[in-house]
Symmetry: C2
Subunit: 386 residues, 2 copies
């Protein structure tokens, strides 16, 4: 096992009716900015639950944080916070709203004028953030309990992340009931996202970290069992609860503590979203199977363990088991309605040179757990994904 | 899944050489009281590593916190802290030292004169605690990242616990190398303790909490695999690391979040330690198999899942699989050198009436996940344990 530091200070309040707990957690004198996305919370009852919980508080409201939250939108929100004496943020939404809110929280008192620097330096100069909590409405990214944020800049086609010890949400409210009304596409995207998050921390090379491996396998098996059910029975509480908890766990830090991590699938996938606007989960579903094929020799031992423990493929040769596992992974994504080839999204390979150039500009020239995914390898993975 | 709140704010720093990180975590102007137990840290290099890390700090030292830490010892430590302007505690030891330090931290500014009240009210009146961190030397209790403390009072033969949101360690340093020199008995005790902690949160009734179940099964399988190796290869780093991480996870709160919990084994076992001074793990190993037999009908579904998933018993009838699983659990404890009957410790049943009386005095008259372990049932379990 590798050395690690694991810090998960966010207080998680999980279950039916838990939005009402907000008033026990947020200081009574807070001047709150409630941030949200496209507005579904106005129609599914979440916003009114939040307002009920925050009766008596000073609450201002700012919507419009889009999927793959835009830097251009967020810097306006930063100005709003600065000019309205806001001292607490409450993100009500999915990973994009929470990621965007993390950026706002860190940017308000950022010591330099250029706020995009937060992304280009991966948060290195952040010294403080205003406190914030979140009400999760879409299980997927794990942003609700971690200190990672991914922000996109529309003007330049960049999608970058930053990390900081000061951007953990104070409290995360997770009520599975608020996910009953999610569109199938968002449900499926979330499940694919959590599945790939888990694999990025699991399918590397053995580190003799038995707990982490079994936790990852447990989450993967849960998603395989519950994912299809969530599409068929969207109001099955236990199914929704298992998925919500799995997605949170998948990027809470606990899987990656003490083990090598890959994340090349995410880096390659981000370019697809930045250039073509595909959903995050779609881009992961496109890249992952081809990356696993490309790196199957260095990932051999863990791919075999994945095949055996998660998929129960124990007959056949080792190479056949791995073939079956990669194929089954792709089939799982497809069965959830998430297509796995660029051509499924009416894309050919014509943007590959531009994506390779972006990777180069962003210094992403040696990715993966062995830093051996060079630009040439990335190009092959993109080409195989057509 | 049941509603839950999960808060795990302790920062975990895990791995080789990590004691050196203390100086990055403890404020430079802290006036520290370093607490420890019997003194093994003086001979195995841990104390000198801590002193090296804290060069330049004001550090006072207080040893003698015994296994099953004694209230009588701890109230003297509270007086010491009050009179020496200590403002930070650093527990260096196993669960007993950490539990004792939690008590000291909470007692220093306790609003009432009677400090034993902290135990009899389960921490209900605690309002603050002085900050503290820990360096774990014995993986077992999970106290290093949770907010539970168990304290014994020698005079009255009571062993009680308290809980408070203010007694989480700030930082927990977990270096598996410091466990290389543990006596076999302590290694084995820790493994049995972690195993039983996991079962207390797992062997109840199904709550459709798939993540929690698989996490528990992962920890149990890891202990079964690594436990015997730890006795044979005490300096195998990966084995020690897996055990250390398993024991921490087993009582970090993550297993019990959203599921029913039992804890009757602990409550019955505590009386054995309080009256006869047996090691905590010994008492768990004595009680658990008989409690499982006694409650096998209400625990049927989870016992079967345990038999199938952890022990891979899938042939035979359901009742036979459960028999085998209970038997195998006992054999595992025995194989670790922890005996499973009162008579193995030269005890007959003559103290059972006294233990039943203690349970009654402490209000422990309806234990277990169904509150159906009455005093009569407890008596049968004790009698079966002879």
């Amino acid at each position: 096992m590798q050395n690690f530091t694991l810090h998960t200070p966010t207080k998680i309040i999980f279950g039916k009716g838990q939005i009402a707990q907000l008033s026990n957690e947020i200081p009574k004198d807070a001047r709150i900015l409630l941030t949200y996305g496209g507005g579904s919370i106005k129609y599914n009852g979440v916003l009114s639950q939040v307002h009920d919980a925050l009766e008596g508080y000073t609450v201002e409201v700012l919507g419009g944080i889009e999927p793959n939250p835009a830097y251009e939108t967020l810097i306006k929100a930063v100005e709003y916070v600065r000019h309205h004496e806001i001292d607490y943020l409450l993100a009500v939404g999915g990973g994009s709203v929470i990621d965007g809110t993390k950026f706002i929280a860190a940017a308000v008192n950022y010591p330099h004028d250029d706020l995009w620097e937060i992304l280009t330096t991966c948060g290195a100069y952040i010294t403080s953030a205003i406190p914030f909590s979140c009400v999760l409405t879409l299980p997927a990214t794990g942003s609700e309990t971690n200190n990672i944020s991914v922000i996109s800049r529309r003007k330049t086609g960049d999608k970058l992340h930053f990390v900081s010890s000061v951007i953990f949400p104070q409290v995360a409210i997770l009520d599975p009931e608020v996910t009953f009304s999610l569109p199938s596409r968002q449900t499926a995207n979330g499940i694919v996202d959590a599945f790939v998050h888990t694999l990025e921390q699991y399918l590397t090379y053995p580190a003799n970290a038995k707990v982490q491996d079994r936790y990852a396998e447990g989450l993967l098996m849960t998603l395989l069992e519950e994912g299809p059910k969530a599409l068929k029975e969207p109001e099955n509480y236990d199914v929704r609860a298992n998925i919500m908890w799995t997605a949170t766990q998948a990027l809470s830090g606990i899987l990656g503590a003490g083990v090598p991590q890959d994340w090349a699938t995410h880096m390659l996938a981000h370019q697809l979203t930045a250039l073509h606007g595909l959903d995050h989960a779609q881009t992961l579903a496109i890249i992952l199977p081809h990356l696993l094929q490309e790196k199957r020799s260095v990932k051999h031992a863990k791919l075999l363990q994945y095949a055996e423990r998660v998929w129960k493929f124990t007959e056949d040769s080792e190479e056949e088991q791995i073939n079956h596992a990669i194929h089954a992974t792709r089939q799982f994504f497809e069965s959830m309605g998430v297509k796995t080839r660029l051509s499924d999204y009416q894309l050919d390979g014509s943007s590959i040179p531009a994506m390779i150039k972006k990777l180069e500009q962003q210094g992403l020239v040696a990715l993966g757990e062995h830093q051996d995914i060079t630009l040439d390898v990335s190009k092959r993975i993109y080409e195989a994904s057509i």
